[in-house]
């Protein structure tokens, strides 16, 4: 898999529909990798650290349950972070470019 990155990164090049699209791709792929990494970490920790996860922080609240709830919370955090970015940055740029022709 190969994704071409725009040259001259760092310079204030004018935004094009293409560069905005590329940036969206990078964000989408990055967040997906984060999500999958967190999930595999969760599964592997269950497979390899059973004893540690059975420690109870307070009666009833085991580390396993905390980690499980944290995984779901992390999924939600990523979801809302993405939405916040898309609304504030991506959509604004696409809208501007679409109006200005290109």
């Amino acid at each position: 898999m190969q994704i071409t990155t725009s040259p001259a990164a760092g310079l204030p090049t004018p935004e094009t529909l293409r560069s905005v699209g590329r940036r969206h791709q990078h964000v989408a792929l990055g967040l997906t990798v984060l999500m999958l990494a967190a999930f595999f970490l969760f599964i592997l920790s269950i497979a390899y650290f059973k004893e540690a996860l059975s420690i109870q922080i307070m009666p009833g609240l085991s580390l396993a349950i905390l980690v499980g709830v944290a995984s779901v919370a992390f999924a939600l955090v990523l979801t809302f972070a993405y939405v916040a970015w898309v609304n504030r940055v991506h959509d604004v740029a696409v809208h501007r470019l679409a109006k200005g022709g290109r």
Partner: protein, 514 residues
């Protein structure tokens, strides 16, 4: 309390609730039928579904009876282990949002086959997307039918065969007359009712524990030992666990009946927003089923739950009766029935779309079929698929069909996911690469499952199986990616890059500018 469970036979309240549900959904179908005259209206509800409504419907598709009754039931019997794979299902939703939400809506018309056909400029790719869609949909339908027959027998004491015919008949009516519009609203009504039931039960259950879930967990830990609060024997083979996780995270994002809902909203933005609603609802719902599972463990008890059904499916109905008496049990039972109806209807219309739009309209008639013709074929295939589902449901009574879900998710992850992903994100992807990659994913998953303990030991009752792993995703997903990439690189065409630039623009701007 265990011996006087009012479920297992019809009670007046459950029948009243259920009839009310059927009457209102039939009214909706009648209303929808007057708005279902074109192919766009039949397959995509005329793009009239709002983002929030679609979010509820998506969540409803996902949280089927297996989610509501199955997961809580499993938690009530084994504790924490019941949750592990449920969390995996949730993880698929953000992935779908990040990768597919907007691009798919902006590139496609009614199905993900449109996306591949447009991106690769190859109408014939739909033969394969049509086959995987039909395969996945029929697996799911059959699994739902068989599960539903058993469940309804347990809940209402109704004869298995009668239950199958009722479900088959109603799903047929919803889809054939009301198309996607009726199917979506049936799903929304059911999802709202189910959420109400789950929230009400959670509040009532937590009232026994000072409205603090930790007290509930502590009481479970004190009574059954700390083991119920921590991982147990579910994950014994880490490779298999990672494979299941991969299948869930990628497969859920590529299930055709879920993807089809992207096309019912007005634009890519709405598709994205509906995924955010769906992810939120599903996450909250998962937390509720978790609490309800432990509540059933404490308030009903594993012995009573197992006595009704070994798999734990009756934990929620038993808990409902304990918390709210016979009338609440009636409500929950009716909602469970409604859930099955709503989910099978969504599956049925997805299968009909694959036949009428992808296979007939675009491949066989090469896009020359008229609206009337497409709609007629859609309705005929709806009847045919419904009959297949009913007959298989009746034939497979009492059979172990649990492997069908794993198979369907694995095929979605290994055949559909690489194809959709590469179509959107890789500019060198070619039609030949897509065909070979998808066929490899499909064939490899089928072969793998056949030689795994899932079929060899569980179904065929052999002592051992050639493979030790049960889930194919860890092998088949990378294999499908590899074949797609290698074949694509071997079959480059001059204008592929240009084509991709056009696609990139349409992903961002939608159809009008393309």
């Amino acid at each position: 309390m265990e011996s006087t469970f009012a479920g297992g036979r019809a009670n007046a309240v459950s029948i009243a609730f259920f009839i009310a549900f059927l009457v209102s959904t039939l009214a909706i179908t009648w209303w929808a039928s007057r708005r279902t005259r074109t192919a766009e209206q039949f397959f995509a509800a005329g793009r009239s579904i709002g983002a929030f409504q679609n979010g509820i419907a998506l969540a409803g598709d996902f949280v089927a009876a297996a989610g509501f009754l199955g997961i809580s039931g499993l938690v009530s019997l084994v504790g924490f282990d019941g949750l592990i794979y449920a969390i995996g299902g949730v993880m698929g939703w953000p992935v779908m949002l990040f990768l597919f939400g907007e691009p798919l809506r902006n590139l496609g018309k009614y199905s993900f086959g449109d996306v591949l056909a447009y991106r690769l400029a190859s109408p014939r790719i739909r033969i394969i997307t049509g086959i995987t869609t039909l395969g996945i949909t029929i697996c799911y339908l059959v699994m739902q039918m068989v599960g539903a027959g058993d469940l309804i027998h347990l809940l209402f004491g109704m004869n298995y065969d009668v239950a199958i015919w009722i479900i088959g008949g109603f799903m047929l009516v919803y889809v054939i007359f009301g198309g996607m519009l009726a199917t979506t609203w049936v799903q929304i009504i059911k999802a709202v009712l189910m959420s109400f039931a789950a929230v009400a039960m959670t509040v009532m259950a937590l009232s026994y524990f000072g409205f603090n879930p930790v007290n509930l967990l502590a009481s479970a830990g004190a009574q059954h030992g700390a083991a119920v609060l921590s991982p147990g024997r579910l994950i014994s083979n880490p490779l298999d666990a990672v494979s299941v996780a991969l299948a869930l995270a990628l497969g859920v994002a590529s299930l055709p009946h879920v993807l089809m809902r992207f096309f019912t909203v007005p634009d890519g933005r709405a598709a994205r927003r509906s995924l955010v609603y769906a992810t939120t609802i599903i996450s909250v719902f998962l937390m509720l089923t978790f609490i309800l599972g432990f509540a059933a463990m404490q308030l009903v008890g594993g012995t009573a739950i197992r006595a009704m059904d070994k798999g734990g499916n009756m934990a929620i109905p038993l808990l409902a009766e304990k918390l709210g008496g016979v009338s609440f049990l009636g409500f929950v039972s009716a909602v469970s029935f409604a859930t099955i109806l709503a989910v099978v209807s969504g599956l049925l219309i997805t299968g009909a779309t694959a036949v009428a739009h992808d296979l007939y309209g675009t491949v066989l008639r090469k896009g020359r079929s008229t609206q009337r013709e497409t709609l007629l074929v859609a309705r005929i295939s709806t009847v045919a698929l419904a009959l297949v589902a009913i007959v298989l449901g009746l034939v497979l009574k009492g059979q172990n069909v649990a492997f069908l879900v794993g198979l369907a998710t694995a095929v979605a992850a290994a055949a559909n996911f690489p194809a959709i992903f590469l179509a959107i994100y890789w500019k060198r992807y070619t039609a030949a690469g897509a065909v070979c990659g998808m066929l490899t994913g499909l064939a490899a998953s089928l072969l793998f499952i056949y030689f795994s303990p899932t079929i060899q030991v569980d179904v065929l009752k052999h002592a051992t199986a050639p493979l030790t792993m049960r889930n194919p995703a860890l092998v088949c997903v990378p294999l499908s990616f590899l074949v797609s990439v290698v074949v694509s690189l071997m079959t480059q065409h001059q204008n592929d890059h240009q084509r991709y630039e056009e696609i990139e623009e349409r992903i961002l701007l939608g159809v009008r500018e393309a």
